[in-house]
Amino acid sequence: MVVPIYKQWTAEMIRIQVVEQDNIVQLLAFFEDFSHADAMNFQLRVTDTFEKTEKGGKFGLRLVDAKFALPVEERRGQGKMQKEEGRLTGWAGTKRKFVCLDEIEYPGEHDDIVIQFDSAEIRDTFAAALPAAAVGRKFTVRRKM
């Protein structure tokens, strides 16, 4: 998974779940050895744009301009004091590894998120779980490129 902010953050080995309750679809992502977050939970809306990508033989899906939150510690920025504050508020440490389903952190960040899968089937399955249809933009891109 790649989290492009202004840099591109890439985490490998992630576990993704798409869960739905009362028409609210959330994406749960759990990371290992990802410095910026251990888990993410953000809502996927019908209005979101999902793009399937197949780049370099990899099957991926881009969440265009996804709204999400990062662990407090990271979100609060670089200041030492702020990190400390984040730790105090609790969303840090062990808790960082867990997602809370009933309360979704206010999505303070937004950017494109690209999720790459091992196979097209899995990507398609994932796409099917999304609240909106994923659009394949391959061709257009290619054309433009």
């Binding site: 779940q17 798409v18 867990f98 309360e103 899968f117």
Partner: protein, 1149 residues
């Protein structure tokens, strides 16, 4: 022999000559009772001189000295002599005298005391009956008798004389020593005076066959007395009740050892007993006096008449004695030991008590009369006695004397006579001397008896009645001490035997009987009861007398009698219990002491066996026992009588039980002990209240038992108010005698104290106790507590710890104050407190919710720290109640209840007398619920629960509750409740999936959560996980809430138990994670948690697992933890996830 006879005859003739004078005095003055002592003394001197001629000068001197001393000392004598117990000086002196004890022939030994006591004995001739008022009757009788010529008497008299002589001789021997103490020794004088020195001489000469043997015993006595350390013992010996010591004579005793042992113990005996002894001595002397009279009688028609009468009475007495013996033998195996001598004893036993009761009135008058009669020698002593000893003293000796003679007859007759004609009743030992006196008493006896017979009231039970019939004749004999003679006859020694020795024998026999009976009779009940009845038969007369003080016996209803009987029984039982309790365990042979408790029980016996059976208000149904009667009465539709019989029967029943245990503890009353000093009253006095106040005292009506048909409860159901023991509907824990007083707000109101009995009861369907307060009469009947209508309640009770009082608010502003002893107050308070606590514990408290209520088949509970917390045995019908502890949290997001474990309350059934309740918390303590499924021998399902509790000193103890259920499903329900496995209403199972593993570890590794916890769970064989939550359909929601759900829980089951993880989470507390490796595993992060329930079957796991689980629980409570549930497949995972989080997994990868 010849010499002695001659001497005696001489004396008699002389006396006779004066007898006319005397007679005239008697008859002329109806007030005879108070002849002037001084005048008599003059005459006496003459008489004495005449009588003593043969005697040595020395004797005369002594007499004179004694007489002088007596006169001089008179005033002093009263106090000193009157004392029951000998003073220290007396004892010492007596001991000294004993040390000196002269040979059998010359008996100088007699210490003051002895002499004193002897003098009293003389008085025994109960004949005294001359009361100022009553004189008339006796006089008439006497005259009548006179008319009847008594020629034959002379021959009969002879033997008596001899006997008397013998006695005299012995006495005389002592007298010299006594003479030494002139001043204080009025008594000694008397005794001495009686004994004619000549007689002594004769005795020494050995004229009398029997006499010779007799004499040695006396010295022995003396010696024993001295040896025994207590001079008293001697005095007592005469009484015959206790004194084994005296027995030198009694060859009868099967076990001399016993006898000897007893004496030692006896000294400690009751003061009464001691008193009785001295009396005995006195009595023998009286016999001597009588002798003197007899001599004159010969020549005189009067005396002859007396003799005749005496003879007749003797015969009667003999018969009586024989019968008695027979009866005794039947009743008691011990009786076998009885010797012919003993025959006399039984009768005597009755008398003492009776006499004691009457004694006070008689003394003075009788004494005078006796003195008047003629006796030269005797007069002085008699007077001295009369005057010197306090009335009490006299009375005692008198009683004793009377008894021997009247024996059984006296028992019945004497009491009655007393009541009717108080003056007549007075028996003086001295009176025996004069025949006229004897007759008088006899008349008095007869009269009372006849009266009694006429009265419907006769309280005397059948066997007693027989005695009463016989009694009229017997009374006379006793005065002469005839009864003793019969005994003597049996003896090898023969008639010659002195009376003194015989008495001791009797006593001995009695004593031996008692111990023998103990050893022989293993069966407690009936035998003990009979024994007891035997021992206290003599009290009956007294009770009858005292009871009649409150009105005629049968004007009281049977119910009232029963109430009184119940009252005394409770009182007596309480007394006995404390007595037995306080008595040292080890002591094998305890002295028998008459206590108030014995007297109280005797009252009960008297009422139930004498008053009630003869009560005219009670219809007879011909049944043998009260129970039969009750049955018959019930059948006849006589509910009231039936109840009376029932209660009577139950009283007797408990009485037998009690007596049985008394026997076991060797606390039976001494035979024929005097009851002086004990409360002999039958009726307790109560103040009179105005009707309005009195009505207030009747409060609380036991709820009428619908099951109870038949006679509606009468005005008061006795058994409801003063139950003897547990009744059909109530348990009776204990009762206490209290002082009650009624008051109003006005401090000036009269607060008359009333004695009342307070019973602490508990209805069998309630846990709360109720209180029943009753007086001995119908005045006070208050019941308060549960199961009572229209009575005060516990709310009306004020506890005053300081003054050990409770006060009960009654209607109309009245307050009933009850004064308790401190111990009683405490026990009352504690039982009320205890039961209230039990009741409270059985209710859900503020933070509790009833989770489960089960009726168990039986249960046992063991708490090593408090073994008394629960009955040690299996308790059937226990009630098990599980309360769920909850904590209400109120947050901005709403309120919810948080589980905080369970409280297990195990209470004994209300049907169980002991109210016990145990409380244990499960789930809140940092320990797993340690349980064990058990199957009873009869396949009944059972479960064992182990509770780990911390004692005060931080030690852990394990309490065990073994619960046996009626049905299997009960057990499951209990278990389900405790583990929250049960699905309550409005709940549904959302997921039930196999569980591969379950693990818990601390969220913060740094906090050093022991890895053990996780390992523990790893060792378990996990079976399935079940998610339970509210049923959305039931609550009208679209889906089940996963947050702030009071029902959401994960119940993970393993092979040996369950872990129930409640997921009652606040917003944002549900934190999940999935492993990135794609395993079907869900990880939950939980905050520190107090609502996790762990149940483990310790028997099916390794021993350390429960402890490890406890450790885990502690961690759970303290720190946030991570649960990791591993499933077999994604499908299970997703199902589970959906159930727990409410989110459906649409993609997982």
């Amino acid at each position: 022999m010849v010499d002695a006879r001659e001497a005696a005859q001489d004396a008699a003739t002389k006396i006779m000559s004066k007898g006319s004078r005397w007679r005239t005095k008697m008859f002329a003055k109806e007030d005879m009772k108070q002849p002037e002592p001084r005048a008599t003394t003059q005459a006496d001197d003459d008489n004495v001189n005449a009588f003593l001629r043969p005697s040595t000068e020395k004797a005369q001197r002594q007499k004179e000295a004694a007489a002088a001393g007596f006169l001089a000392t008179r005033p002093r004598l009263n106090v000193d002599l009157a004392q029951r117990w000998p003073g220290a000086q007396d004892i010492v002196s007596s001991a000294a005298a004993a040390g000196r004890s002269p040979g059998p022939g010359g008996l100088k030994t007699g210490t003051r005391k002895k002499g004193l006591s002897v003098g009293f004995v003389r008085a025994v001739p109960e004949i005294i009956g001359h009361g100022g008022d009553e004189c008339d009757e006796p006089a008439a009788e006497v005259s009548r008798r006179k008319k009847t010529a008594n020629g034959a008497a002379a021959s009969s008299l002879q033997p008596q004389k001899q006997q008397d002589d013998a006695h005299l001789g012995t006495r005389i021997g002592r007298s010299p020593s006594q003479t030494e103490q002139r001043n204080s020794l009025t008594r000694t004088l008397t005794s001495r005076g009686e004994m004619s020195p000549p007689l002594q001489m004769k005795l020494e000469m050995g004229r009398i066959n029997s006499y010779a043997p007799a004499s040695p015993p006396q010295p022995l006595r003396m010696g024993r007395m001295g040896l025994g350390e207590r001079p008293r013992a001697l005095a007592r010996a005469p009484t015959g009740f206790d004194a084994l010591e005296i027995d030198p004579h009694d060859s009868n005793n099967a076990s001399p050892v016993l006898a000897r042992q007893t004496p030692n113990v006896e000294p400690t005996l009751h003061p009464d007993d001691e008193n009785s002894r001295p009396k005995f001595m006195a009595r023998t002397q009286t016999g001597l006096h009588g002798y003197g009279d007899n001599e004159p009688s010969r020549s005189d028609s009067f005396t002859a008449r007396v003799k005749q009468k005496m003879r007749a009475e003797e015969g009667m007495a003999l018969h009586d004695g024989a019968r008695r013996i027979d009866s005794k033998r039947d009743s008691d195996s011990s009786m076998q030991s009885l010797d012919p001598f003993q025959v006399g004893t039984p009768p005597t036993s009755h008398h003492p008590s009776l006499l004691a009761g009457r004694t006070p009135p008689r003394a003075p008058h009788l004494m005078y009369s006796a003195s008047l009669p003629t006796r030269p020698e005797a007069e002085d002593p008699q007077r001295s006695r009369v005057e010197c000893p306090s009335p009490v003293r006299r009375t005692i000796p008198l009683q004793d004397h009377a008894r021997p003679s009247s024996a059984s007859s006296q028992y019945a007759g004497a009491p009655t006579s007393y009541i009717q004609a108080p003056p007549a009743t007075e028996y003086d030992p001295f009176s025996t001397n004069t025949t006229s006196f004897q007759q008088v008493p006899s008349q008095s006896d007869r009269a009372p008896i006849s009266a009694a017979s006429q009265n419907p009231v006769l309280a005397i039970p059948p066997h007693f009645e027989q005695r009463t019939l016989q009694s009229p004749p017997s009374p006379a004999a006793p005065r002469i001490q005839v009864p003793l003679q019969p005994e003597e006859l049996h003896l090898p020694a023969g008639p010659p035997m002195t009376q003194l020795p015989s008495r001791p024998r009797q006593e001995v026999a009695d004593k031996t009987q008692a111990p023998l009976a103990r050893s022989d009779t293993r069966s407690i009940g009936e035998a003990a009861f009979k024994d007891f009845a035997e021992r206290i038969t003599h009290m009956r007369g007294i009770f009858e007398l005292t009871a009649q003080l409150g009105g005629r016996l049968h004007t009281r209803t049977p119910m009232q009698w029963l109430r009184v009987a119940t009252w005394w029984f409770l009182s007596g039982r309480a007394g006995m219990e404390s007595l037995i309790r306080s008595r040292p365990q080890s002591a094998e042979s305890q002295p028998e002491r008459l206590t108030q408790a014995h007297v109280d029980l005797a009252k009960v016996l008297w009422i139930t066996t004498e008053v009630l059976p003869n009560h005219p208000g009670l219809r007879q149904y011909g049944g043998q026992s009260p129970d039969d009667q009750a049955l018959l009465a019930r059948q006849a539709g006589d509910g009231a009588s039936a109840e009376v019989y029932e209660i009577q029967g139950s009283i007797l029943h408990y009485m037998k039980l009690l007596v049985g245990s008394m026997k076991k503890h060797q606390s039976l009353p001494p035979t024929q002990a005097l009851i002086q000093g004990q409360d002999q009253s039958i009726w307790t006095e109560y103040p009179q209240f105005a009707p309005d106040a009195a009505s207030v005292l009747q409060a609380g009506r036991p709820r009428s038992d619908p099951a109870r048909t038949g006679g509606a409860p009468p005005s008061f159901g006795l058994s409801q108010y003063i139950p003897l023991a547990d009744t059909k509907s109530d348990f009776c824990y204990f009762r206490m005698f209290v002082k009650a007083s009624m008051s109003t707000d006005d401090p000036n109101t009269d607060r008359a104290p009333m004695s009342a009995v307070m019973s602490i009861l508990r209805p069998k369907d309630q846990f709360q106790v109720k209180l029943s307060i009753c007086s001995q009469n119908d005045l006070l009947n208050i019941v308060l507590g549960p199961g009572v209508e229209a009575g005060p309640t516990w709310d009306d009770v004020n506890w005053k710890r300081q003054s050990n009082q409770i006060s009960i608010h009654l209607k109309h502003g009245f307050t009933l104050n009850l004064e308790l002893s401190e111990g009683d107050w405490r026990s009352l308070y504690s039982i009320v407190d205890h039961t209230n606590r039990v009741q409270n514990d059985l209710r859900e408290k503020r933070d509790e919710r009833l989770a489960c209520q089960l009726q168990l088949r039986e249960a046992t509970y063991k708490d090593p720290a408090h073994p008394g917390a629960f009955p040690p045995d299996r308790v059937p019908g226990c009630k098990l109640i599980i309360f769920e502890r909850i904590e209400r949290s109120s947050e901005g997001t709403g309120k919810r209840k948080l589980h905080r474990g369970y409280r297990v309350a195990l209470a004994t059934s209300q049907e169980n007398k002991q109210v016990s309740l145990i409380n244990h918390d499960i789930g809140t303590k940092q320990a797993p619920m340690n349980f064990e499924y058990v199957t009873e021998a009869d396949q009944a399902p059972a479960m064992r629960l182990y509770f780990r509790e911390e004692t005060a000193d931080k030690n852990m103890r394990m309490c065990t509750a073994h619960l046996v259920f009626l049905e299997r499903k009960d057990r499951n329900q209990l278990f389900g409740t405790l583990t929250s496995m049960n699905i309550a209403q409005g709940e549904a199972t959302f997921a039930q999936v196999p569980l591969k593993s379950f693990n818990i570890e601390s969220a913060d590794q740094a906090e050093g959560f022991g890895q053990r916890g996780s390992h523990v769970l790893g060792k378990l064989q996990w079976q399935e996980a079940k998610v339970i939550n509210q049923d959305p359909e039931a609550t009208g929601l679209e889906s089940a809430p996963t947050v702030m759900s009071e029902s959401l829980r994960i119940v993970s089951r393993h092979s040996a138990g369950i872990i129930a993880d409640r997921m009652n989470l606040g917003p944002g507390e549900l934190l999940v994670r999935l492993p990135i490796d794609g395993a079907p595993e869900l990880t939950l992060l939980r905050n520190a948690q107090q609502d996790l329930t762990v149940a483990i079957d310790g028997s099916r796991t390794e021993g350390d697992i429960p402890d490890a689980l406890a450790e885990l629980l502690r961690t759970l409570n303290a720190a946030s933890t991570i649960r990791k549930l591993t499933f077999n497949s994604f499908k299970d995972l997703h199902t589970f996830q959906l159930a727990v989080t409410g989110f459906e997994v649409k993609f997982d990868g």
